[in-house]
């Protein structure tokens, strides 16, 4: 069985304007729309395409989080994942704990590929992919904008600061997705209905033998300093004069 595991994180929706709570203990989440992390949707889309090309047999969506995370996993099943696994925890787990838990699933599921988002848009940590690859002692190909499988290797084009880098890694491996890898498909109503019948297994974090070590504590959340709105200028001449006066051009 050629299997792909895809990481799914439940996050505040991309379009929500996130605000810090007045008590500084977190951000406002009451009544806020939750979604799949956009980079994880891209990861799932890529896995589905690989399966549809016949290069893999099964796509399994995996997540860590509270019970409500089942909603996002059901959406992943509706997009086309074959089954899902939720490692349930109410704790705010740190990236190394997530990577350890995923490593436990990797040992059980023996995937050819694990595809994850390059970062989650809530904590913006960008850590789990390389950490999982290190625990697993396997290759990592981060920030992927193209993934081509041939036999037991995968060639990945990566979006790096200099431009596009191509590397080749042996399977099994960890790939993390960048924005331009693909455009995820939309959910269709019949698929949402069908997804209700697909298997979604739930296990407690403790039950898979991972210690939820908490090594970082967030002391407070603050709003960022706001930039002051400046002046409107009436034309190009006034703009250039203003910039020249400040020595900027």
């Amino acid at each position: 069985m050629r299997r792909i595991l895809v990481g799914i994180k439940r996050v505040i929706d991309y379009n929500v304007r996130v605000r810090v709570r007045p008590d500084g203990a977190g951000v406002v989440t009451d009544g806020v729309k939750m979604s799949i992390n956009p980079f994880d949707e891209i990861a799932l889309e890529e896995a589905l395409r690989i399966r549809e090309r016949g290069e893999a047999d099964e796509v399994v969506a995996i997540s860590l989080g509270p019970d409500d995370t089942q909603q996002q996993l059901r959406n992943a099943l509706a997009m086309g994942a074959d089954r899902a696994i939720l490692i349930r925890t109410d704790l705010a787990v740190e990236p190394p704990v997530v990577a350890r838990a995923m490593h436990e699933l990797v040992k059980r599921e023996s995937p050819m590929l694990v595809i994850l988002g390059k970062q989650a848009i809530d904590d913006d940590c960008s850590q789990v992919g390389p950490m999982l690859a290190a625990f697993w002692d396997r290759p990592q190909a981060t920030f992927a904008s193209k993934v081509e499988i041939s036999g037991e290797t995968v060639r990945v084009t990566r979006e790096v600061d200099a431009g596009l880098e191509t590397i080749e890694v042996d399977l099994p491996a960890v790939v993390t997705t960048d924005l331009r890898l693909n455009e995820p498909r939309y959910l269709k109503l019949p698929d949402i209905m069908k997804a209700k019948k697909k298997p979604l297994d739930i296990a407690a974090l403790e039950a898979i033998g991972v210690e939820p070590a908490q090594r970082l504590s967030i002391l407070r959340y603050q709003s960022p300093p706001q930039r002051q709105k400046g002046a409107m200028v009436k034309d190009a001449a006034e703009l250039v004069a203003a910039l020249r006066q400040k020595g900027l051009v």
């Binding site: 304007r17 996130v18 951000v27 740190e94 990236p95 190394p96 390059k118 848009i121 809530d122 913006d124 940590c125 960008s126 789990v128 390389p130 950490m131 999982l132 690859a133 290190a134 625990f135 396997r138 290759p139 990592q140 981060t142 904008s145 990566r158 790096v160 600061d161 200099a162 431009g163 596009l164 880098e165 191509t166 590397i167 080749e168 890694v169 042996d170 491996a173 960048d178 924005l179 331009r180 970082l216 504590s217 967030i218 002391l219 407070r220 959340y221 603050q222 709003s223 960022p224 930039r227 709105k229 400046g230 409107m232 034309d235 190009a236 001449a237 703009l239 250039v240 910039l243 900027l248």
Partner: protein, 312 residues
């Protein structure tokens, strides 16, 4: 004493400018002693450049043919080994550092702080979350190494004039062969580097085509600026990915940022909020970019760009 190891990013014998910014960050950790690790095929030139950064006590060089081009799976075990005796391991929050440092942290069984923007104490740092919509103060528990990436837009480069000792280190290396470099396609350009440029001209979806994006390039060349782009412009194929500015692209802090035909999605604003002066040019007077701009100009970019050039 806080012993801080900084991982040097380099290519083609040149030290990346982000490293001197990491040094500045490290010098704000109380009682810091700074070592730079250079992992290279031939590290002499890079080591000399690293040793010349003021505030650096020591440069340690590991030379091996497998170390270039840089691959995280090859470098991480070497960094983990060099990290012995250090309290902190820092790298830049470039794609190099974001790829490498979590792998290092995992090998060290350490937690990582990503994108640190200020140092409050040896174990307490501030970093942005939610695309910069919130700043968190994070404290690392005692008795563990701290691995971190440094948000380079938050720091100025450390001065030159250092004369650190350079020492060669022999490690018992068995680099993995499961990861192989194939190629890199970087646009060759005489323009300033986007991440370190003093001036940046950026274009958005309103440019309408890759051909029209040449207007941005022309203006940038006129004022000696680097070129940036919004995600929409990159997605539409007007500009290459390495020009993308924002939460998932490059975070920059130029003296002057000129945003042309960019509406100013929050994810884009995240990438520019440390710019000293922001200029926005957009035909929509309600565009959110004007809320953060120091100078705003409403109008058609195809008319305004030539007019700006005429006035320069």
């Amino acid at each position: 004493m806080n012993r801080i190891l900084i991982v040097a990013e380099h290519a083609a014998g040149k030290l990346n400018a982000a490293v001197a910014k990491c040094v500045t960050c490290a010098t704000t950790v109380p009682d810091a002693e700074i070592t730079i690790a250079v992992l290279a095929a031939d590290g002499a030139a890079v080591a000399e450049a690293a040793a010349a950064i003021a505030g650096v006590a020591r440069v340690r060089v590991v030379e091996h043919p497998a170390n270039e081009p840089a691959l995280a799976a090859v470098l991480a075990p070497q960094i983990a080994s060099l990290a012995e005796g250090h309290s902190h391991v820092f790298g830049p929050s470039t794609t190099f550092g974001r790829d490498l440092m979590p792998r290092v942290a995992a090998l060290l069984d350490a937690a990582q702080l990503s994108d640190i923007m200020s140092v409050e104490s040896a174990r307490r740092f501030r970093r942005p979350v939610y695309a910069g919509n919130a700043i968190v103060t994070v404290e690392a528990a005692a008795g563990q190494k701290i691995v971190a990436t440094v948000r380079i837009a938050s720091y100025q480069p450390a001065a030159q004039g250092g004369s650190a000792n350079i020492e060669s280190v022999k490690l018992d290396l068995r680099p993995p062969t499961h990861t192989r470099f194939v190629s890199v396609s970087a646009a060759k350009s005489d323009r300033p580097d986007l991440q370190t440029a003093a001036r940046v001209v950026s274009g958005g979806r309103a440019l309408g085509s890759a051909e029209n994006f040449a207007l941005i390039k022309r203006l940038a060349d006129r004022i000696g600026a680097a070129i940036g782009a919004s995600r929409a412009a990159v997605d539409a194929g007007y500009a290459p990915n390495e020009m993308q500015v924002g939460q998932t692209g490059k975070i920059i802090a130029p003296e002057l940022y000129i945003a042309i035909g960019i509406s100013g999605a929050i994810q884009h604003l995240t990438g520019i909020k440390d710019a000293r002066t922001i200029v926005a040019i957009n035909k929509d007077a309600e565009a959110p970019i004007f809320e953060v701009a120091d100078y705003g100009l409403v109008g058609d970019l195809f008319t305004l760009i030539p007019e700006i050039e005429k006035n320069l």
